[in-house]
Every structure is written in structure tokens, then in C-alpha cells.
Amino acid sequence: MECSKVHNDLFFYLEGSLDEKSNADIKHHLGTCKRCSHFADMLRASLDVIEYEKKVGEDNDFADRIIDELSGKGKKRKTYPLSILRYAAAAAIIIFGVFTGINIARLASGYDQNGLTEMSEETYYLNDMYQEPIESFFLINYEDYE
């Protein structure tokens, strides 16, 4: 028997719905072909998952939650889908970033609402144009300070 034929009928073999001869042929093939046997094990394990998932535990509050919701007393079960929260968080971060950037730029340029330019202490440190270039540092004649 060819592997492809086994692959076609493996599901039916595992659920026991094949005729006797096909069943025996596949059983024999699985005993000799490691690859098909491995796949049969995998397929069986996947189908076993259904049996786990069919088990539903008790939940004594389930009916109460529905009836509360019908009568308007129920808590809103779901807040917002994760995707909406994610977009809202991204928007908030962007808005915060933009406003922070504008404020820092305003501070650094020394620009105020009246159009006047005045240099605050922060302005001095934020705007490196006002700071002493490194070259001038080396040009300082320390003897002048002594």
C-alpha cells in the first residue's frame, strides 16, 4: 500500500469507519512505515484534543449573568476590544510626544506667547547655540584666572 493512499484514509481509519480490508491494509502499512506511523500519532493526538475541549465545567452564575444583563443590571462584560485600546494608547503617546516636543522647542527657542524673546535659565541649557563651543574652552588662557 502506498503512503498517499494511507494519508487519504487515515482519518477514517482512526475513527474506525473503514471496511475491514482497508482497515487491515492501513494497520499493516503503519507497522512498517515510520513516517506514516508518526503522522498517525500526530493526527490521533489532534483529534484527542476534541475530547478535552468537549468537557464543559459547571458555572452556577452563568444564568444569573445573562438575566442581570437582560434586566440592565449586568456589568458590562467586555470593556473595549484589545485592538481599540492599543490604538488609543498609541494615539495618546503620539499626542503626548507632539505636545512635549512643542513645549521643549518653545522653551529652547525662548519664544513666548507675546512674541518676545527672552532667554530663561532653561533656554540657555537647552539651546546649545548659546553654550560655549568646545574650541573656546581650549582657547581659554588659564593664566588669566590665576
Partner: protein, 192 residues
């Protein structure tokens, strides 16, 4: 509270329409497990299935006035459950695809997202199963889940899906073939 009087479907439906809380509790008690099982087949997650089941019962109770008694209450609830589950998957598919983006693979869930009650060794098989199920055409997937998760007969599946028994047989045959092909692809790609 004695709920036995609701065994009669006509009494049950009238009581639901009238807003009888006992009738609500009866329907929920009778169908909670099948509905959650079905939803779990579609979603692969118990938590999602429970949320979805809650929405389904709200829909059942709110729309009971539209029930025309042309089918059984059970069939009608299953239809609502299937429709809601398919809509849920359509709505979530893209989100999960983005979340677990794996090239051209329509990954539905990731291993860590699976329920805690599934033994660790089965989590990768659960992922394999739901990835494969999620790639089946909706009719095949629905027939498969109604058959394997709910153990319904072909005639019951045919009623729910509004199709013939032979169509259900054909859908299930193709679903099983396709499922094993998808699982083989998955295992060759991920677990070999």
C-alpha cells in the same frame, strides 16, 4: 423552582416571549453545555466560548418573538449559535492573523492562548487542530464541529444547516479529508 412545565416547547416559547425568568433559566440550563461546546469548537478557547455563549443566549431570548415553530427550539438555538460563532471568527480572524502573523498562514490562535485545562503536551496539537479547522470552508467546518463536538446525527446537522442528509455526508467526508491534509501540512512545517 420547578422547571418541568417547560418540557413542552410551545409552553416554553410562550413563557420566553412573556419574559418568564424561569423559562430563561430553563433554556440556559438545557443548552449551556452544548452551546459552549460548539463555540469552543469554533474558537478553540473556553473563555471566548463562554463569552460567545452568553451573547448567544441574549440573542435567543431577545429574538424569541421571531421564532415561528417551524423547527425545534434546539435547532433554532443551534442555528443562532453557529451564525454567531461564524461572525465572531470573521471579526477576529484579521486581528489574530495580525497578532500571530505567520506569512501566508491563516493562524487563528497561538499556543499560549489555549486553555489552561488542556495538558501542555496537547497545546501544540490544539493549535494544529484549530489552525486546520480554521482553514476549512465554513460549511465543512460547521458540519464537522456539529458532528464531532456535539455528536449530532446527520439528520440533525442537516436541519440546523438547512440542507439534505446527503449534503451533510458529503460535507463531512470532505471536511475530514481536508482536515487531515491541513494537519499533515502543519505537522510537516512545524513539528517535523
Amino acid at each position: 423552582m420547578n422547571l418541568d412545565r417547560y418540557y413542552n416547547e410551545k409552553v416554553l416559547v410562550n413563557a420566553l416571549i412573556e419574559g418568564d425568568e424561569g423559562a430563561y433559566r430553563y433554556v440556559i440550563r438545557m443548552y449551556r453545555e452544548p452551546v459552549i461546546r460548539l463555540c469552543r469548537g469554533f474558537t478553540g478557547s473556553f473563555e471566548d466560548a463562554e463569552d460567545l455563549a452568553q451573547d448567544i443566549f441574549l440573542e435567543v431570548i431577545r429574538s424569541v418573538g421571531k421564532f415561528r415553530s417551524q423547527s425545534t427550539v434546539s435547532t433554532w438555538i443551534y442555528r443562532i449559535a453557529v451564525n454567531k460563532s461564524l461572525n465572531y471568527i470573521r471579526d477576529n480572524k484579521k486581528r489574530n492573523y495580525d497578532k500571530f502573523g505567520r506569512g501566508d498562514e491563516e493562524s487563528f490562535r497561538g499556543g499560549d492562548e489555549y486553555d489552561a485545562d488542556i495538558p501542555l503536551v496537547n497545546k501544540e496539537h490544539a493549535e494544529a487542530l484549530h489552525n486546520a479547522l480554521n482553514k476549512l470552508p465554513e460549511a465543512q467546518r460547521t458540519a464537522f464541529i456539529l458532528s464531532k463536538y456535539e455528536d449530532l446525527r446527520y439528520s440533525e446537522i442537516a436541519d440546523i444547516m438547512r440542507t439534505s442528509i446527503s449534503s451533510v455526508e458529503s460535507l463531512l467526508f470532505r471536511a475530514k479529508r481536508n482536515l487531515q491534509d491541513k494537519l499533515r501540512e502543519y505537522y510537516e512545517k512545524n513539528l517535523s
